[in-house]
Amino acid sequence: MKEIVISSLSRVNVDKLDQDLRAGFASEYRGLSIRRQRLIIFVVDSVSDVARDAMINLAEVHDPDELTPEQIAERNRAQELQALKADLQAMDPDNLDAAALQIIGKAVLLYFGRVGLLD
């Protein structure tokens, strides 16, 4: 396995760049590492110069603020959780109406969804 070392990147969204490199170069790309503030791209020994240059280019134009679908889902889940927490804290336990029960139902579903990750 060969290493391509890129020293010029200040910030990397490792999951996103990894996903993009896997999608574009499945047969030649093997993974990446961050090591002492450098980006290391692992490639097969037989990597072509064209693929190598394209991977470097992809890394250099990489936008660290762009999220993977999993990261977007996680961000949305965190926002939903935050909103639910605020709703639950504002609730009067002695006066639960239909809207309040709906919020409690959402919270319960979210909780079981979270616990389900442990399976």
Binding site: M1, V14, G31, S33, R36, Q37, E70
Partner: protein, 170 residues
């Protein structure tokens, strides 16, 4: 100070040179065995997405000692995290002189999930090494997603300092 196979005395006189070589020098060698260690205190944490073994840091986490032919103990401890929401598996391997020690899925593995930082500590006895210079390099791979090794880089609540060491013990 190199270790010398101790002399077997018969009936000859005890002379200073023999005592110095076989008693003093060997005591000093046993007190100060070939040893190397590195404690991480880096500018950034380490991360990888590689699903096959790659070096964590070929400079800092690659130790070199010159042994006298005895066994070597290698130890590592550190704290890891993963980006994967479900469970993910981290694998660790030691390359001795450029050759994987265990092969397959390495010398150690642990399962954890995102936000569930896990402390990893293992000790390994390495036997059968010839006298001479040897390297011990820590490698890692992930089942999927991104693995992070906290490296004393100032990450809030995880500014911890892993250590990797190797020492000849016999």
């Amino acid at each position: 100070m190199a270790y010398t196979a101790p002399k077997t005395w018969t009936n000859e006189p005890l002379v200073a040179s023999d005592l110095n070589t076989h008693v003093r020098d060997n005591m000093e060698a046993l007190k100060d065995p070939p040893s190397s260690n590195y404690e991480l205190d880096e500018g950034s944490d380490y991360q990888t997405t590689s699903t096959s073994f790659v070096p964590i840091d070929s400079t800092n986490l690659k130790l070199s000692i010159t042994t006298t032919g005895g066994d070597v103990v290698v130890h590592f401890h550190g704290v890891f995290d993963t980006s994967v929401g479900g469970t993910n598996r981290l694998h660790l391997e030691i390359e001795v002189d450029g050759t994987p020690l265990a092969g397959d899925d390495g010398v150690h593995a642990t399962q954890h999930q995102s936000g569930g930082q896990v402390g990893v500590s293992f000790t390994r006895l390495i036997t059968g090494l010839d006298p001479g210079s040897h390297t011990f390099e820590l490698h890692w791979k992930t089942q999927f997603g991104t693995e992070t090794l906290y490296a004393g880089a100032g990450t809030s609540g995880m500014d911890v300092h892993p250590q990797f060491w190797a020492r000849e013990v016999s």
